[in-house]
Subunit: 837 residues, 2 copies
Amino acid sequence: MLTTPDFTEITPTAEIKAARHGNRAKCLQRLVRLDLPVPLSVALPFDTVRAIATGRIPNIAALWGVFGVGALVSVRSSSQAADWGGPGTVLNIGLNDAGAARLAETHGQDAADALYLGFIKAYAVDVLRLDADMFEGPITPRLAKTYFEDELEEPFPQDPGVQLTEVLRSMARAWEGTSARLLRQAQGAPADAGLGLVVQQMALGIGQGISGSGVVQFVSTETGSPRITGRYLPQGQGRAALSEQDAHFIESDARGPALEDTSPKAVKVLRKAGALIRDRLQEEMQIEFTLMNDTLFILDAVRSPRTGRAEVAIAVALAEDGIISKAEAMRRIPPFTLNQLLHRQVDPAAARDVLTRGIAAAPGAATGRIVFSAAAAQAAAAHGEACILVRRETSPEDIRGMGAAQAILTERGGMTSHAAVIARGLGLPCVSGATRLQLDARKKTLTVPGRKIFHEGDLITVDGSSGEVLAGFARMIEPALGGAFATLMKWADEARDIGIRANADTHAEAEAAQRFGVDGIGLCRTEHMFFDPIRLTVMREMIFASEAGDRTAALNRLLPMQRNDFTALFKLMQGQPVCIRLFDPPLHEFLPADRDGIRAMAEAMDMPVSRVAARIESLQEFNPMLGMRGVRLGITLPEIYDMQARAIFEAALVAGDGVVPEIMIPLVSARREVELVKDRVDAVAAAVRNEQGKDFDYRLGVMVETPRAALRAGEIAESCAFLSFGTNDLTQMTYGLSRDDAGRFMSAYVQHGVFPEDPFQRLDTDGVGELLLLGAERGRAARADLMLSICGEHGGQPDSIAFSRAAGFNYVSCSPFRVPVAKLAAAQLAVLDAVLP
Amino acid sequence: MLTTPDFTEITPTAEIKAARHGNRAKCLQRLVRLDLPVPLSVALPFDTVRAIATGRIPNIAALWGVFGVGALVSVRSSSQAADWGGPGTVLNIGLNDAGAARLAETHGQDAADALYLGFIKAYAVDVLRLDADMFEGPITPRLAKTYFEDELEEPFPQDPGVQLTEVLRSMARAWEGTSARLLRQAQGAPADAGLGLVVQQMALGIGQGISGSGVVQFVSTETGSPRITGRYLPQGQGRAALSEQDAHFIESDARGPALEDTSPKAVKVLRKAGALIRDRLQEEMQIEFTLMNDTLFILDAVRSPRTGRAEVAIAVALAEDGIISKAEAMRRIPPFTLNQLLHRQVDPAAARDVLTRGIAAAPGAATGRIVFSAAAAQAAAAHGEACILVRRETSPEDIRGMGAAQAILTERGGMTSHAAVIARGLGLPCVSGATRLQLDARKKTLTVPGRKIFHEGDLITVDGSSGEVLAGFARMIEPALGGAFATLMKWADEARDIGIRANADTHAEAEAAQRFGVDGIGLCRTEHMFFDPIRLTVMREMIFASEAGDRTAALNRLLPMQRNDFTALFKLMQGQPVCIRLFDPPLHEFLPADRDGIRAMAEAMDMPVSRVAARIESLQEFNPMLGMRGVRLGITLPEIYDMQARAIFEAALVAGDGVVPEIMIPLVSARREVELVKDRVDAVAAAVRNEQGKDFDYRLGVMVETPRAALRAGEIAESCAFLSFGTNDLTQMTYGLSRDDAGRFMSAYVQHGVFPEDPFQRLDTDGVGELLLLGAERGRAARADLMLSICGEHGGQPDSIAFSRAAGFNYVSCSPFRVPVAKLAAAQLAVLDAVLP
């Protein structure tokens, strides 16, 4: 057992390590090495603090030997990583009756009383955990000491050794508390993360000369651009300046008094220190300083707080200034930070009149007038009016209306509901599952309990980043896609070694993907193309055709429309690969579900209602997910795929040379399915070549969505050029879990740790991942040049990208607005590999 | 190139092999070795016949050298296995004008004309493929020859060499035809199966002395019991006796003339020959014989035709007489043959008035009066009236009505529909998917296009073995579960080395399982226990309870009922293992789906209809198969499993010492699910032990139904004692295919070879099988004593049993009426392994 704590004075040559003494101690040593005026500081390593927490070091008071009799000190926490947290700073330790009396002589009674009272309160409340209420109101130090003694049945300690011992013990034990542990583990701290402590001689900030304390930083928190910000509080201590209304500015400022007005020299020193620190610490730091009788002390420096946008600007600027490498700049930015730059955001500083909260289903924010139907949304858009589409839940027929709205709000559904998936694809803000809303689509009212009733045309704001629905307008911050962001994306493209494609079903989505600079389209779902009203009618005729001939006639009317779709897509993508998935959904998705719809359809098709209803009923399925869809439909009604293949090939010829379309077969579970479709697609290709007298290439591949397709990838790969893993469906089938139905219990399941994560949000590398690896390995064994990819929603997740890259996949495909995140994540992986070969 | 065919005279020492000359040639050699009077015979091996088919042997006529000038011969096919088929026999080859004239001298003009005309017709129609119509009516040989020449522009060949050449070529080529090939491949013949031919000197069967031909066998075709049957036709040839109305019996017979009346010596010889053949050929053979001027010739012997029941009786009798081993007796019986013995069958000889055909969904046949509702079925049963339950499709509420009916007939659904699955479990005949039926449940009529309208109370017969629905009564053959069947089952139990358990949800099913002698219950689904009307009401109260306390109150009312269920089951099974699956289905299965049902429920629960409807709607799922069921329900509403665990433990204590219940958790996809349920079940066990002051053991296991559970079997096995693979759901999820929805395309899929077999009928060893092997291997690696089994419907399939046995599984579990098949299949595998170590 140690009898005195092990500690190290922070000098330029002392052995201080972040992994032993924590990040703050190390940072302070760096400041010391830069010859900056840091008060005498001592670092306690993790082991010591742990020993203190378990009461194994009796003579903590020995630390006073360093600072000398009558000194005052502060104690700050110093965890290994800045964002792992730690207990708050305690100032003025060592202050007692005698010290207070001395202070009264030098600084006046009021200043001494204020300091002493502050310390007694902090000691009582923060260290000994007494009730703060007890010390409220204007009381004297004497009264505070009486309260203290009443409560604890012992006097307020006069011995600085006792004070310091209690402070250190209290901080050491707070670190071991459950909530602190959970908080830091959520930030990635290991279970055995340690706490260091820094004991620093006080620079008081009060005195006869110019005295006070302040906090300064050299970039804007919001944008990251160079700008001195911060506050200074004359005759103040610590970080109080930031919360005091009447604190001064740092630089001379038209808005009010500034430190520069009274002490231009100090500000000059701070500016110089800031530049030096940025250069040497390779980071924008926020500096805590104190002026004591005209003398400047730098007490502490922490990473400047920043928004995502500032994060990007700072890292890019540091790299452009040659202070850090491009690789380091990319490494520093958590990929999801980029989401904040891609979408309009509600200004964090703006007032928010929150009506209700739902699921933050698609990021960004928008204000608009309420509409309750897709048709109303399209009408509003036609008049140039911003609108918010509010629905119980959305369905494929709503897609055009969704595209016309500024944001989507639904009463039902989760992260993977139709509304959420489509909104993310379109880059529209979406709040889903706002279950407290009472929606009456017939009366066109939206009721929030306890609030006024909202009607069509009323203004609301949807914040898809926070999940909040706000009444009326809200002030916005615009996206920031140029400047530093563009530079960062360029660097990421140079660094990354795995392809990033986008999932894009519509021209608008493909355009968004192009804006973000993708390597191609990884998944173009063709079914959404059939929901346009004219096409839908033809589609329904096709479904109702009883003979192959009638089916072909209906499909022949769809052919030119599909050909135009694909021609536009190929032209837009300018020769980049476009992977088109053949028709996938069950046919009943194209049929009306309610009486009115059935009646309207019967009229449109000139058929008795009973026949329409009977056909619709005959197409109902118990488990549509596992039913007649995908390649099963393609084989049973082969005319559909024939038409699509023809449309693709004819479009490729129209779009010009060098277009090599990729055709993907969905829901395969057996090799023979692939062979059958391949035979017909090859025949269509031969026919088109023959008719047009022109040659073209294409690639046929398989979307691996069933566990069996993954297991049998070896034989399946023999008939195809690529395998793309549809991890959404693969996850559903591997778990036996429908994501549409999982919402009811998934959050409880994750909260109780039944599943460590929602497997639809984060790829399950254990189960689904094993199938991916098996499939990849077997596919490549059968065909060495097999192209492999992920095209599920997991495709944009950094850990899915890491998984895919490690498995040697050629690319991942994700929704267009995930592309920047994916690029950065991919670049980070490549950079990490270059550093750690 | 050979110039003359390679052939071998069939003598006792000749080298005749079934694999080279075919089964008939080998059988004839055996008869020759037994010194039986077989006419001179020659065997042509496969190679020779193949050469003949391709025209590579010019001088076939050289064969006449063996038989001599003026002889007549027959040619019979001799494939390697008797059931691979072959072209029909041709008689009297060599007959020409000169021979016919000679015959007229010795046997009279009529006999000679009849023989010659018969040969000309057979040669023209069967060999040269002329139209049979041409030779209809009473014509002379001369006229027949004229027709022949008119058609072929060449005369009827007088050269016996030409005749024989054409006969052999024709038979050799017929073997290579597509339909013959498909037929024999369906019987398991390899693609290159060869045909041998036997050329045999004719024994004419006509003459002045006692002459004629006949066929005799020594067991009953229907029962297999010893009984001389067959027919004899005086002055006849070949097998004509079997089809002639006025043929004689063999033994003296009250019904008419018999061979024994005129030639007792011949019958004595036949009896002796029959006994000798049975003993030496180790089989019951049907003998073809000819009497020529009082002399008996034995021309051929084939395996006696037989029903499944006779098959069993014959094999068991041969073994009991020491002629073959028990192992050989078991090996000879195709396991599915036993299905014919287990159920009442429509007598194959009875008249059948077929109304329509559906899917043969559950074997057996029954006659009864039509009822259209489960309630009517129960009412009929209460009056002791046999009834047939006719429904569009059945649902869980119909179970009691189904149990009260003699058979089930449904308009919709396939082999795996609710009706089919339950009927097989109950051992009831079922025809499902009889889509031509027009059912009007309200008017209580059943219409078959083109037939009279059937009403409730009308008599029909359901033949679940053939899929036919018959009008009125049909004569039945009763099941045969004693005697030879019982002996066979005893031998199978002695031989087999893998456990056979039964899936049994009800007491009736468990009793059926007990009758067949099982090793335990492998799957007791508990949800069917809640469809009794009283329980259903309590169940619905439980579902509607909004608080855990209310839920527990409802469950407490179900507890004693469940305890009684389990007590009865444990007592019935007398200490054999019983594996109880915890509650699995989605809750909405217990709620009414139509308006009337909802109204009735609202009344019963004293609630507004709107609330009942809203709750039902809130429980609807997009894909119920992949939704809130199984362990997900068990974790979300843990009171249900608590109640079931308590009922199981209390029942085990009531049922007596030594009962070790097995508790199985359904639909697991992650280890933590198992740990959570295990914690609660262990806690219930501890509570029951404490309350009752008695100790007991139990085993907790997991039903592996999701691909992920199979992949993660290693970690799952750490918390459980057994894994039982639910291959139904595992197949659904591995293929991404709902069996309820697959019916619409499965038969087309199998017909077109997309899937080689319906994976719900036959275990997909490639895909699903790999998951089984992975799961088994990983589970056993984690826990060497882990008990492994299959409990899906595949469990009773011989190839699933082979798979399970090879993988080292402890048992398979199948529906009770599959147990005999499973036992025999398992015994065959063990016997095969003993022979081929």
